[in-house]
C-alpha cells in the first residue's frame, strides 16, 4: 500500500463489520422484490418483438376481460401535458436535457417502438401468472420498419431515421439536419497537424466494442401505491430515491411533494439502476386500480428492456518522438445511445487522453441513436470503451519505440497542473503513483510464465460530488442515529458511519446508520459516480462536526466556562486549561435531557473538491492456440482511492470492477440477430464470469490524498473497470502476436485474429 497520508485515524482505515451485515447474511434484509403489502396486485409489461416499427393500433379489450385482470395501461395513459423539453435530474446531479415525451415513450411507447423489448403496455392482475396471460391477449398491430443496428448503419447516408424530429446538436447549436446523430462535440488542444509533423512514429487504429449489460443479479422492480389522498408512495430498488421521486413527478405531472419514495435494499446497480423503468407503470396501474401494484422484471426484460451501456466505434491516432514523448493524439469516437439520445460519449471523450500530458490533441465525439435499448450509465460510463482503444494504442507505440509500456506511460503521465485535452487542469492526482506502484509490484517484477502473455493498462474516472444530506441524533447512551439518503449497494452505510465515528471519537459500532425515504432526509443525489463515500461521507463529517460543536457548548454550559476553552478529542470533552474538567461524550449524552434537551446535528452538502481516480491493471493470460480460449492466470488491480475508509470494501470495489471488466473483455456481448433481436438474453448465454472463470484478484491500494476532502477521499467505485479490457487485450496480443481490435475477445474472435 502506498500512502502519502500519515494522519493517525482511530476509525478510518479499520475494517468493521457492516451495520446491515447480519440482515444480509440471514435473508432478513428486504430488497425491492421482497416488498409486500395488503391487497398487492402484480404487474407485467408487454414488450415489442420488433426492433423498429410503427404502432398502428393497440387493442387491450381481451386482456381487460380476462378473469383476474384489474387494469391495463398504455402510452395513452400518460398525462397529456407535455410538449418539448423539461429538466430531469439524471441522478448524478447533472440536469440532462430530456424531452419528456422521449422519457415517457421509452417507458411506454408512443407511436413507434425503437428496440425489441420496448415497453408498450402494462397489466395489473391478481397474480403474476394471470398478468402474463393477459399480455398475450393484447393485440398490437405494427408496421415493421428496417432496423438500424450499428453505428456505421446509423451514420450512413440514407439510413432509416429513428426520430423524425431529431437533428444534430453541436454544443448548443442545432444543425437543423434530421439525422441519427444526436450530438457532436469536439475538444482541441494545441495544433494537431504540427504535433504529428513532429512525430517520429505514428500509430493509427480503429477499435470496435459492442453493447454490454451491468448484469446486477436483482432485476428492476417497483411497487407503487397511489393513495386515496392523492399521494403516491413507491418502494423500489434504486440507486437514487430522489431521482425516482423527481422523475415520477415529471413523468406523471404531479408535484414532488405528492411523492414519497422508500428505497429498499438494492441488489446491485452499477449505474443501471439510476434510470427508472417499471415504477411509473406501476404508478399508473395503481392509479387505475386503487391498489398497490408491484412489477418485477424478468431476466429477459432486464436485458432487453433496461439500459445497457453503449457499443462504440473509436479511431485512435498517436504520434511520438523516438524518446517516447507523445506529440499528438487524435480520437474519433462514436457511441450507441440506443433508441433515444444519450450515450456516454461525452465522458469517453473527456477520459480518452486524461492519463497523459499531451500538447496537441483533437477529440471528436458523436452520440448516435440505434434500434437497441436506450443505454444507461454503467460504472465509469464510456471510459472503458475509450481506454480499450487508447491503452492498446499506447502499447503498440511502446512496442514500436521498444520501450517498456509502463515507462512510456510514465514518460507522458498527467500530473498536478497538466492541462487536459478537454481544457481544465488537473489538481493533485495519482496517475504517476499508480504507474510506479505497478512498475514496482511483485506481479510486474515477476518473470512471465513461459507461453503466457502479459498486458497492462491504466484508466481514469472523474468521480463526482453533488448533493448529500445527513442527520445525526444523539442517544442517551452515547450512541448516535445517523440518517442519510444514499442507497447502500456495497457497504456505504458503514463507510459513511465511519466518518461520523472518526469526528466524534466513538466506536463505529455506536453509530446506527439508516438509509431513509425521501420524506425523511434532504435531497441526496444517486449512489453513483463514485460519490457516496466522498459526498455523503462528507455530509456525515459535517453533521458530526455539528454534534461535536453542540456537545462542547453543552459541556461549557454545564461547567460554566467559555466553550472556546474546551475541545473534544477521542470522544472526550475537556478543558484546555483545567485538567479536572473532562467528560466523555457518553457521559454528556446521558445528561442531555437535564441540560437543555437532545442534541441533533445536520448537514447538507454539495461539495467541490472532487478528486478523480486512476486505476491500473497487470494481467497474465494463457491462450489455447487451438481454440482461442483465453484464461486469466493472474490479475492485479492498482487504484488511487485518496483515502481507503474501509479497506475491505475498497478492495471489494476494485475486485468487482476488475471482474466486470474481465467479463466485458472476454465474453459479454449483446448478440443481435439481423432483425435486432437479442439472441442471448439469459444468464446462460450472456456469459458473465463464474467463480471458476477467475483467479484471485490481487489489489494494491494507492492513497494520494484528495486535498479537496477532509479525509482525502476520492471515491473508488468506477475507475477500476476502465483498464481491464485493454490490459487483457494487450496480454492476448502479447501471447498471440495479434492486435485485438474488437470486443469481446471470444475464443472464435481470438482465433480469427491471427488470420
Amino acid at each position: 500500500m502506498t500512502s502519502s497520508d500519515s494522519t493517525d485515524y482511530k476509525v478510518l482505515g479499520t475494517r468493521p463489520i457492516r451495520h446491515d451485515g447480519a440482515d444480509k447474511v440471514t435473508g432478513r434484509a428486504i430488497y425491492g422484490p421482497d416488498f409486500d403489502t395488503a391487497g398487492l396486485l402484480h404487474g407485467k409489461i408487454l414488450r415489442s418483438p420488433h426492433a423498429h416499427a410503427r404502432i398502428i393500433s393497440i387493442d387491450t379489450s381481451e386482456a381487460e376481460a380476462l378473469d383476474g385482470v384489474m387494469a391495463v395501461v398504455t402510452g395513452a395513459d400518460w398525462p397529456n401535458n407535455s410538449n418539448g423539453t423539461s429538466m430531469v435530474e439524471d441522478g448524478t446531479g447533472t440536469e440532462i436535457e430530456s424531452n419528456s415525451n422521449w422519457l415517457r415513450e421509452n417507458l411506454l411507447a408512443g407511436d413507434k417502438v425503437l428496440y425489441a423489448g420496448h415497453a408498450i403496455a402494462g397489466v395489473a392482475a391478481a397474480s403474476p401468472h394471470v398478468a402474463e396471460e393477459a399480455l398475450a391477449l393484447i393485440e398490437v398491430k405494427y408496421e415493421v420498419l428496417e432496423p438500424v443496428l450499428t453505428i456505421q448503419e446509423a451514420m450512413a447516408k440514407n439510413a432509416p431515421i429513428l426520430h423524425e424530429g431529431l437533428t444534430t446538436q453541436e454544443l448548443g447549436e442545432d444543425s437543423g439536419v434530421v439525422s441519427n446523430t444526436a450530438d457532436h462535440f469536439q475538444h482541441t488542444k494545441g495544433n494537431i497537424e504540427k504535433g504529428f509533423e513532429a512525430a517520429d512514429v505514428v500509430v493509427e487504429r480503429e477499435y470496435n466494442t459492442v453493447m454490454v449489460h451491468q448484469g446486477y443479479i436483482e432485476p428492476h422492480n417497483g411497487t407503487a401505491l397511489w393513495n386515496t389522498d392523492g399521494r403516491l408512495h413507491v418502494w423500489c430498488s434504486t440507486q437514487g430515491s430522489f431521482v425516482v421521486r423527481d422523475s415520477l413527478s415529471d413523468l406523471l405531472d404531479i408535484p414532488v411533494s405528492q411523492i414519497r419514495v422508500t428505497p429498499t435494499e438494492i441488489g446491485g446497480g452499477f449505474g443501471g439502476k439510476i434510470p427508472i423503468y417499471v415504477e411509473p407503470v406501476a404508478a399508473l396501474l395503481s392509479k387505475k386500480t386503487g391498489s398497490p401494484v408491484k412489477i418485477v422484471m424478468s431476466r429477459k426484460e432486464v436485458f432487453e428492456g433496461s439500459g445497457p451501456t453503449a457499443g462504440s466505434n473509436i479511431k485512435i491516432k498517436l504520434g511520438a518522438k523516438s524518446d517516447g514523448t507523445i506529440t499528438a493524439a487524435h480520437a474519433w469516437m462514436a457511441m450507441e445511445a440506443g433508441g433515444y439520445p444519450g450515450s456516454p460519449v461525452g465522458a469517453a471523450a473527456q477520459c480518452v487522453f486524461a492519463a497523459y500530458d499531451i500538447e496537441n490533441a483533437l477529440v471528436d465525439g458523436y452520440d448516435v441513436v440505434v434500434n437497441k435499448p436506450k443505454t444507461a450509465p454503467y460504472r465509469a460510463p464510456g471510459a472503458p470503451n475509450a481506454a480499450f482503444g487508447m491503452e492498446q494504442a499506447m502499447n503498440e507505440l511502446a512496442e514500436m519505440l521498444q520501450m517498456d509500456p509502463i515507462d512510456l506511460r510514465l514518460k507522458n503521465v498527467a500530473t498536478e497542473g497538466t492541462r487536459r485535452v478537454d481544457g481544465p487542469t488537473f489538481r493533485r492526482i495519482g496517475a504517476k503513483e499508480v504507474l510506479e506502484t505497478m512498475r514496482d509490484h511483485p506481479h510486474y517484477q515477476a518473470a512471465k510464465t513461459e507461453g503466457h502473455g502479459r498486458g497492462i493498462a491504466i484508466g481514469f474516472w472523474f468521480n463526482i460530488g453533488f448533493d448529500s444530506a445527513c442527520n445525526i441524533a444523539v442517544n442517551s447512551d452515547g450512541s448516535i442515529n445517523l440518517t442519510e439518503g444514499s442507497t447502500d449497494i456495497g457497504g456505504s452505510r458503514t463507510s459513511i458511519a465511519m466518518h461520523a465515528a472518526e469526528v466524534l471519537g466513538i466506536p463505529v459500532e455506536d453509530v446506527r446508520p439508516s438509509v431513509v425515504d425521501t420524506d425523511t432526509i434532504g435531497f441526496t443525489a444517486v449512489t453513483g459516480g463514485s460519490r457516496t463515500t466522498f459526498a455523503t461521507g462528507w455530509a456525515a463529517y459535517e453533521a458530526a462536526q455539528d454534534v461535536k460543536k453542540q456537545s462542547i457548548e453543552r459541556a461549557a454550559s454545564i461547567w460554566d466556562v467559555d466553550s472556546d476553552t474546551l475541545n473534544m478529542e477521542d470522544g472526550v470533552i475537556k478543558s484546555k486549561t483545567d485538567s479536572e474538567l473532562k467528560m466523555t461524550f457518553k457521559e454528556l449524552a446521558s445528561q442531555m435531557s437535564d441540560t437543555g434537551g437532545g442534541i441533533t446535528g445536520r448537514a447538507s452538502v454539495n461539495p467541490k473538491g472532487v478528486g478523480g481516480s486512476f486505476a491500473g491493471n497487470m494481467v497474465d493470460v494463457s491462450v489455447d492456440d487451438e481454440t482461442g480460449k483465453v484464461t486469466i492466470e493472474r490479475f492485479t488491480c492498482v487504484q488511487d482511492v485518496g483515502k481507503a475508509i474501509h479497506p475491505s470494501y475498497v478492495e471489494g470495489q476494485m475486485q468487482g470492477g476488475s471482474a466486470q471488466g474481465i467479463g466485458w473483455a472476454l465474453n459479454e456481448e449483446y448478440f443481435m440477430n439481423d432483425q435486432g433481436n437479442m439472441a442471448n438474453s439469459s444468464l446462460l448465454d450472456y456469459r458473465m464470469p463464474t467463480s471458476l472463470d477467475l483467479p484471485m484478484i490481487d489489489t494494491a491500494i494507492v492513497e494520494v490524498a484528495n486535498p479537496g476532502h477532509p479525509f482525502g477521499v476520492r471515491g473508488v467505485g468506477e475507475a477500476n473497470i476502465v483498464p481491464p479490457t485493454p490490459a487483457i487485450a494487450n496480454a492476448v496480443s502479447d501471447a498471440t502476436g495479434n492486435i485485438m481490435t474488437q470486443l469481446p475477445l471470444t475464443p472464435g474472435a481470438v482465433l480469427d485474429s491471427g488470420k
Binding site: 482541441t188 443501471g272 454503467y378 460510463p381 453513483g528
Partner: protein, 87 residues
C-alpha cells in the same frame, strides 16, 4: 480578468479566438459580458436563465454545481464542456 477557453465548436462566434478575457465576478456576469462582445454565446449556453442542461461549466478545473451564481476571480479559468454522468 477571468479567462474563457472557447470550445472549438463555438470559436466561429468569436472570430476563431480560442481564449477570451472577459470581465465579471460570477458566471452570469461573465456570460452576459461575453454575449455583449460576441453575440450568440448566451443563446448557445443559457436557457431560462440557467446553464443549458447538456453543458457543464468547469471553473478552475472543477465542474461547478452552482451554475450562473458561481463566483469567479480575476485569475479564473472557465471551460464549457458536455455534461457527463457516472455509474
Amino acid at each position: 480578468m477571468p479567462i474563457i477557453f472557447v470550445p472549438s465548436l463555438m470559436q466561429k462566434l468569436c472570430n476563431g479566438e480560442q481564449k477570451l478575457l472577459i470581465e465579471g465576478t460570477n458566471l452570469r456576469q461573465v456570460i452576459d459580458n461575453l454575449d455583449l462582445q460576441y453575440t450568440g454565446f448566451k443563446d448557445r449556453l443559457v436557457e431560462d436563465g440557467k446553464i443549458k442542461p447538456n453543458i457543464s461549466v468547469a471553473v478552475d478545473g472543477e465542474i461547478t454545481p452552482l451554475g450562473m451564481i458561481q463566483k469567479v476571480d480575476t485569475n479564473s479559468e472557465i471551460h464549457f464542456l458536455p455534461a457527463i454522468s457516472g455509474g
